[in-house]
Symmetry: D2
Subunit: 349 residues, 4 copies
């Protein structure tokens, strides 16, 4: 059994990491460290019956892997210590995601462990699987970043399409806003609405631009806007691209299928448009179909009349967008089958 330690108290990322680890056949939660003492069950009633308790930072025993589920700024202090103790570290916040120090510090403030950036691996297995296998430190990606990058990489990689700029709209479930109480996330305010936030210059934009530029071999500008919708889990990212020439839809689907052939958690939706007009949602991903899982579904369409490709990418922001992919990364690090503990499909209903 892989022994795991988790930092983070009332937050949802900690909750979900623990939930997945409790269900994982080859891992166990050795400790859950939080400043809040006592039973974790009153903060996380879905874990009622597990008997899990928060422990303080003193005398934490060694573990194989540490999940740091804390606001940005904590992992940069904790990671070096646990690496020194021989643990692998999966950092769930932004501490090690960006390699451009100026951008990092403008967005997040001072960095106190910049040297570690050299060995931190950006935790998208579909891009960096081999590096993750040998990584000591994984920078788990932002939720919107995962959705947009998985949706765009195969396209951006096609040099002949010449993609230098994309428009991305990403709508997230409210679990993405975290457990901190805020008036905009008060249920009576949120239950029937869609609301934009971080309308421009969202911090995940920088992750998208960095990873897409890496793949493209040239700079890619991402015009990203984020929204919350009245549901708890999931992200739908819509990526609008204006390529230099316009392939057929089926050609593009081939490109995607080819790219993700060896990646078990990304599924390309090739269902046909239905002849009955009404039920014409088939060829596109629906957030519900990946909710509660580590899967990503991708669909796309082409506007031949106006010269646009739109790619849709759906994930569970708590799953493939955060804790699912963290467990996938853990599996890779410890030589397990990548899918261990993650194979159950999305909820659907």
């Amino acid at each position: 059994m892989i022994t795991a330690g988790v930092y983070g108290g009332r937050g949802y990322v900690a909750r979900e990491c623990v939930r997945l680890l409790v269900g994982h056949p080859e891992a166990e939660v050795t400790w859950w460290c939080s400043r809040e003492a006592g039973s974790a069950e009153s903060s996380h009633r879905n874990l009622l019956g597990t008997g899990l308790r928060f422990v303080s930072e003193n005398d934490l025993p060694d573990v194989d892997v540490v999940f740091i589920c804390a606001p940005v700024g904590i992992a940069m202090d904790l990671a070096p210590r646990w690496l020194d103790r021989g643990a692998r570290v999966i950092s769930m916040a932004a501490d090690f995601r960006l390699r451009h120090k100026g951008s990092f510090e403008r967005l997040y403030g001072e960095h106190r462990a910049w040297a570690l950036l050299n060995e931190a691996v950006y935790g998208i297995p579909e891009l960096h699987r081999d590096s993750i296998r040998t990584a000591r430190l994984v920078a788990n990606p932002g939720c919107f970043s995962s959705a947009a990058i998985l949706g765009l990489v195969p396209l951006v990689k096609c040099a002949d399409l010449g993609i230098e700029s994309v428009v991305v709209d990403g709508i997230s479930g409210t679990s993405g806003a975290g457990a901190g109480l805020d008036r905009s996330m008060h249920h009576p305010e949120m239950w029937q609405t869609v609301i934009p936030y971080n309308a421009v210059d969202h911090r995940h934009t920088y992750e998208m631009e960095a990873q897409l530029s890496l793949v493209a071999g040239h700079g890619v500008t991402v015009h990203f806007t984020s929204y919350y919708g009245p549901f708890g889990r999931g992200i739908l990212a819509a990526c609008h691209v204006f390529p230099q020439h316009l392939p057929e839809r089926s050609e593009l689907l081939d490109v995607y299928e080819q790219f993700y052939r060896e990646h078990p958690f990304v599924t390309v939706n090739r269902l046909p448009h239905d002849s009955e007009a009404a039920w014409d949602y088939l060829p596109f991903p629906s957030v519900a179909d990946v909710a509660g899982s580590n899967y990503c579904q991708i669909g796309l369409d082409v506007d031949r009349r106006r010269g646009r490709v739109v790619v849709f990418s759906a994930i569970d922001n708590m799953g493939k967008g955060a804790c699912g992919v963290a467990v996938q990364n853990m599996n890779l690090i410890f030589g397990l089958d990548e899918t261990t503990g993650l194979v159950t499909p999305g909820l659907g209903i």
Copy 2:
């Protein structure tokens, strides 16, 4: 009292027109014509207690105004008859919205009353108020069209910004899908999801392009994608624009405020970004705040780093996006105050 006739049976547009007319102090529903006989209350239980009944097409009495809430193709047959009888006609479907016959027929099929296009007025009061006042026939706009056009017109009108192309993402509540049963709109499938549909070449695109081009004085291409989200009422349209030079946010807000100064149902949100990061949703419209009303709220932001303006426009698709604006048009036609029966603000909660 204005006497009104309504065509349409189980559909939601008919339901909502009747609901608003029942609450209107200066109008009354004289008849509600549907192929389905009998009580309208079993189809529309929110109208229980009104005693309204469906009547058949035979011997409908004269009325001042007829709301044709039927699928496209019906109004083109009914409108001429009622105009001949001296009634004003508000056509709720697409029959009279497009002036380019080729586009119309490709999208909707044959048109049997094309001559009427000359006098049909596109029913957005903020663009065509004076023409509506004297119109015999109003082509009530598409729901997405209203949201996008109201969000973009002030910007497109600024010649110095040189806007020839926009990207619009519009998410709608499911009432926009209509009352027809469809698997994608089955509650268990839809309650926790966001799903794209008509990913490209949505028929409302043509209305947006026509109206925006009219205002701009040159062709404007609209790259529009539509979604359904897990709520019943409302549309949030996000309009991404890449102008030739980038005004300050406050300058743009001035432009919008100036444009809508005389229009009581469009509100520009100038609330400041809050200093507390969390509650930073203030300056943007939230669908809930206009749900159940005829109001449109508009907010915007500017990405100075990457050169983008994003404008958000929120309406109730059943209100300002359909039946609310239809009643507003009726008020204009009959010389009432534009706001009669429509003044209650959005639900908020």
Copy 3:
């Protein structure tokens, strides 16, 4: 025009009272008093464009009616002052709802204006319409109380049924929990759940017992349990009754119809059970059908096999359960038609 003053800041009851008064043709908000200074629009974005501002307590001008939308304990201090100034007072909290001082003080704490109880009228027009017409002080009822009382009064009044005890389950939308942030009302926790609260001895129980006992002429015990469900507006109260003999369903519907004949906001659902099994929801009220309105819908069924009557009563907790009925009470006080400003049917969708 009736001039109205409103006490209450960020709360939802104040918000909704103002929303309804803004839409009321014969009333206007003269002032909105709150400790929070400045624009009311950043707290209540659905009111954006109204220009309403919070004013402080100093120098409030005289008004015809004051709506006190503040937590229990405030109205008992404010009401005497405004009555002295000649205003009518509608108290939205529990201050004047109970006539049994011991119960009041056990539930809510000390009462500082008990003498006013003698003239306070419990604000359910279907029970006390004539008294309300002449009241200086209306104790607006609790939301669950309104739902249960309207659902039970006609039954309890039937002496031959001998009803001394009822079981009431009431599920409310989350607006009932108020605007105060609380973890259980955080959208990610609440969006997909139903949760009991105040499982026993809910404070509204005492209002129900008092009013039902009054009607019955003997003590009626109410076993009430409350829940929040994942929606914003509305209450469905299910009232289980075990009468001494069991009338036919149609007889009971007659009783209800007779009782509410002169009451425009209570509708008895007599739609038949549909022969198609699936769409067999017709004869029962659905919260959506009264949401956004001042209507109450009532339906019922009889279990002849086991000897039970179950009555369902649906209201909008913010409408007929709070602010709608407050405006109805205002209408009665000022001699307007009871339905003024409240006639629009429920949203339905």
Copy 4:
């Protein structure tokens, strides 16, 4: 590996059984039989990527276990055949749930395999675990039945409480209504509502009465009413009981804890009432905390003033209420640890 066959096409019970079996480490779906030919993925997009296809009834190979996910009336024909072929059968519909033939036939129509009732075991492991271990045929329980029975059995078993009658309100997510399109389940009609259905004499009542009477050793009458709420998964059952004497809350919690000590999927919530009034939901189950899982959470309260005990029981209707417990039953039959493939806690968010 246990080889499993599944009957059922577009239905949600089949979908969820397959979803859980795909994620089960010791079982696999050998075939999925449906009249609808072709890919199962267009009916069940959450299963996209599994490659599962519907097969016809001809030449189905032998399997270890058959899950019959079909409307009542099918399993009574299929079960005998598969038992003859040596398979174990888990019947998901009502075919084998009731031992009183008169009741069965009045509720469901003719039974064509009544002899099998003798060996069918009612599939609630917390009541019949040993019998399930050796059963050839399991009658998987109704979703409401599971919720209510688990909530009531420990109480009913206490002879000194003398419980002969209970009132049960059960609210279900809409997945309980099945995949068949119906107007009441159309998202625009359902998204913001709660609606009663089968207000009296719901067919699950008979399962509850049979099982509770069995445990009590005398007849227990269940007054059950069911509702749909605006969410997809989960049931909250509230059970109102009026015992002959009233134990303390903590005593009752002891009774429940003792009863479920050896049952890993039923958790008794003993969290204290919080001193802060607002967050006083702690000691009661919330549907979200068991959604997506096989767990049941139970909480309770006592009204000493009026003499009532109310017990709340929450399950996922698709999980512990249907397919989760079916897999649990399969585990028992095949000698696996009861929790295999089911250990992940509920979603929480």
